[in-house]
């Protein structure tokens, strides 16, 4: 087979050769890779800015968020020596004199340093998440410990406040001074530690996150379904009307899309509020009395109204783009074969719109599940979604770790739903237009 590349060779020997060679004797695959390398390099270079942008603006922040949800250094920042020492404590009774001494010295040192983010108050806040009432104890400790001139520290501290004698407090301190802990996830799932360090359901009034997750899923599903109901006929109309008319209609669909989200949402306030347009009309035509105006906003109804309106184009556009590609001859063929208009629609037209329906519902549902501004403005107390709670922790309570844990759970939920969706529908069948 050594002669297989000889061009003067009349026998087509390459048929028996496993590797195809060029006339120069170079393996064909290698040669092909060589000639297309430049092309592939150029294609890659074109994607570099986007890849960098995604890494900086997407991968890194999300990674940080995931990390922050399990990583909290409040303990080691404020009391590094104590944090190391208490981990050796077996959790029975009270820690030893040595641990008490390190605690007092660390607290005093941090009080003296006055470093932002590393004051005793920081540790107090962290402990307070899991052991309510300990913030003031630790803050005041920073002042009171100064009075302790010499050991034994344990005795002196216990004498200052009898709360220090509670073993649960020290067990909590042991837990929160670890840099890595799953406790924010437990909090996000409405769980807490009981005095014996067992995970139990949080007190009723603190159980807000799981129910809010369910509410977010439920409202998103309702919004998605309503969007589908409203969008399907409009998309059908858009795809069948003559071009001039359908263009006009398309502009009407897109007009809200181009308007500021804030403006649209506030418009809904004007329409839905109890002295708003709808209520005024209902009172005017006498359906309801002036005293019994309907509460349409600052509750779940308001959130649903406004979000259906805002997310509708995301359903219409994929549906429209799919329907546009279904030639009218399919329906005609079905009719000519004896199918009634309804059967023709159900058996022939509707199944072909499934890629658009799948894309539209996925898009609307995922957008709805993470929606923030509209529920914040029109949701009131009842109509807020999980994103509003996350924002609350990031902006107001500054419990970033809990916010990050909630955000991570939301992310995982969406990914799981997406995975199920992919199994059911097949993501390659989607058509976003």
């Amino acid at each position: 087979m050594t002669d297989s590349t000889n061009v003067t060779d009349n026998v087509p020997s390459s048929a028996t050769d496993e590797r195809l060679l060029t006339t120069d004797g170079v393996p064909l695959k290698q040669k092909l890779a060589q000639t297309t390398r430049r092309m592939r390099m150029r294609a890659f270079m074109l994607t570099v800015p986007l890849v960098l942008f995604l890494v900086i603006s997407f991968v890194v922040p999300i990674g940080q968020m995931l990390f922050r949800s399990v990583h909290n250094t409040a303990g080691t920042d404020v009391a590094p020596n104590f944090a190391a020492a208490i981990q050796k404590w077996n959790g029975e009774g009270l820690p030893s004199e040595e641990v008490f001494e390190l605690f007092a010295k660390d607290i005093m040192a941090s009080q003296k340093r006055r470093e932002i983010g590393k004051t005793p108050g920081k540790l107090g806040t962290r402990v307070n998440y899991e052991f309510p009432g300990s913030l003031s104890l630790i803050k005041s400790a920073a002042r009171k410990f100064k009075k302790i001139k010499e050991g034994p520290y344990k005795e002196a501290i216990l004498k200052q406040n009898k709360k220090w004698a509670n073993p649960t407090l020290w067990r909590t301190l042991k837990r929160v001074t670890r840099d890595y802990s799953p406790s924010f996830y437990y909090a996000a799932l409405d769980l807490k530690y009981d005095p014996d360090e067992n995970l139990v359901a949080a007190d009723k009034i603190y159980q807000i996150y799981v129910s809010n997750f369910w509410k977010t899923l439920r409202l998103s599903a309702i919004i998605t379904f309503l969007c589908f109901l409203l969008a399907f006929p409009v998309s059908y109309l858009l795809s069948t009307l003559p071009l001039a008319t359908s263009n006009l209609l398309m502009i009407l669909v897109l007009l809200p899309f181009w308007t500021s989200l804030l403006v649209r949402t506030t418009a809904w306030i004007a329409i839905l509020q109890s002295k708003g347009i709808i209520n005024n009309i209902l009172v005017f035509i006498g359906i309801i009395s002036d005293e019994n105006r309907v509460q349409l906003i600052y509750n779940q109804t308001g959130t649903i109204f406004a979000m259906v309106h805002i997310l509708l184009p995301f359903m219409i556009l994929p549906l429209y783009s799919v329907m546009k590609t279904i030639p009218p001859s399919y329906m005609r063929a079905a009719r000519s074969m004896g199918a009634t208009p309804f059967t023709a629609f159900r058996r022939v037209y509707f199944p072909q719109t499934l890629p658009g329906i799948a894309a539209g519902t996925l898009l609307v549902f995922i957008l709805a599940i993470g929606y923030y501004i509209t529920p914040a403005l029109v949701g009131g107390a009842d109509g807020i979604l999980i994103s509003n709670l996350i924002a609350n922790h990031i902006q107001k309570t500054l419990n970033w770790s809990l916010g990050a844990a909630l955000g991570t759970i939301l992310l995982v939920t969406v990914m799981v739903l997406y995975w199920i969706y992919n199994k059911l529908v097949g993501i390659d069948k989607l058509s976003f237009g």
Partner: protein, 366 residues
């Protein structure tokens, strides 16, 4: 099959004074009267926008007739919705349902007719065998080639045994060779099943190959309705002569009329004899139509007309040679010279005589 005119009495499909307008201003179909006999293969042939597809859509029920009546058998079908008309239809893009297998596509019309499963399976198999596609029953339409999809579309239109089948340019998307093969197949299926077929196309060779009768449409009016042969040999007006086959045109004025022949003075002053078709008066403008293959170059026998010409261009086409020449001031005058062993020595720029029989030269409306 009846090639003469089908009378209203034995007509199966009947268009009576049918008019159609989409916008209330322009008539797309103007006063259409057409009788189609049972078992006949009628083709509606015409350029795009001539109203032929509109007629088919009115017959299928997808477009209402603005005026007039359409009958199938004795019944007016104007108010019967498409799904109750029982008409099979083949579309240009095949319209096979992409989300169903071939088998499901074919059983669809049977299913909506509530046929039981065993009968339905038999009928589907029979229809698939008819188009030699029996092995493809479990495939999806997207897995088939254009020609195969066309066969399936045909089988689907026939599987519920309709008495009338409409075809809307069904071969338009196929390449030339496949198109020709399918033409024969459709022709044979028609012969075997005896169904009535109304076929729409803009391709004249398709129409000539398959049809019993051809209705040539232009401008919303049937220009001529007759067999392929008579369309070609005896065009009734200038449009038909130009639309069907190749055609040499010579303009002139009628000088004399005598029974079926007339004498025409051409624009360059020469006079020729021609068959009178639709010129009525002396002094009328006329268009003489002459098929390229009926023109003789340097004729040896006696000819009714003999004109001088000059060869402008020769195109070698294998079985014949196209000779473009200047005759009577028209330099687009074409003659086809059969490629025989005694190859004649023709050269560009050469002066020659051209001649033809008066019966081959039709004097039409100018």
């Amino acid at each position: 099959m009846a090639s003469g005119n089908t009378s209203a009495d034995n007509a199966y499909v009947r268009f009576e004074k049918v008019q159609k307008s989409y916008d209330g201003e322009i008539l797309v179909v103007k006063d259409l009267n057409l009788n189609i006999a049972k078992g006949e293969f009628v083709t509606m042939l015409g350029p795009s926008g001539s109203g032929k597809t509109t007629c088919l859509m009115m017959l299928a029920g997808f477009e209402p007739a603005t005026n007039g009546e359409i009958y199938i058998g004795d019944k007016s079908i104007n108010h019967i919705p498409p799904h109750k008309r029982g008409i099979g239809m083949v579309f240009q893009n095949y319209a096979l349902f992409p989300h169903m297998s071939i088998g499901e596509n074919l059983s669809f019309p049977l299913e909506v007719r509530k046929m039981n499963k065993t009968d339905s399976e038999k009928a589907v198999k029979r229809a698939l065998d008819m188009v030699q596609m029996g092995d493809f029953i479990n495939r999806r339409p997207a897995q088939l080639s254009g020609g195969q999809q066309q066969r399936i579309a045909l089988a689907r239109a026939l599987v519920f045994e309709p008495e009338l089948v409409l075809m809307d340019e069904p071969l338009g998307a196929l390449d030339k060779q496949l198109r020709e093969r399918m033409q024969y197949e459709i022709k044979h299926i028609h012969e075997n099943l005896g169904v009535t077929i109304v076929y729409v196309t803009h391709d004249q060779s398709e129409a000539l190959t398959m049809s019993d009768r051809i209705a040539v449409f232009n401008d919303g009016v049937i220009q001529q309705l007759s067999s392929a042969e008579s369309l070609y040999e005896h065009p009734q007006n200038a449009f038909v002569a130009q639309f069907i086959g190749e055609n040499n045109e010579l303009h002139g004025i009628v000088e004399e009329i005598e029974d079926d022949t007339c004498t025409v003075k051409l624009t360059d002053g020469t006079t020729v004899k021609a068959e009178k078709v639709n010129v009525d008066n002396i002094g009328d403008k006329t268009l003489l139509s002459l098929r390229p293959e009926r023109v003789e170059i340097d004729p040896t026998g006696k000819m009714d007309a003999l004109l001088k010409g000059r060869i402008e261009e020769l195109i070698y086409l294998g079985d014949h040679i196209r000779v473009r020449m200047n005759v009577a001031g028209n330099d687009e005058f074409i003659a086809k010279v059969r490629n025989r062993g005694d190859k004649r020595d023709l050269k560009e720029g050469q002066s020659i005589n051209v001649g033809w029989a008066a019966s081959d030269c039709k004097a039409l409306d100018g």
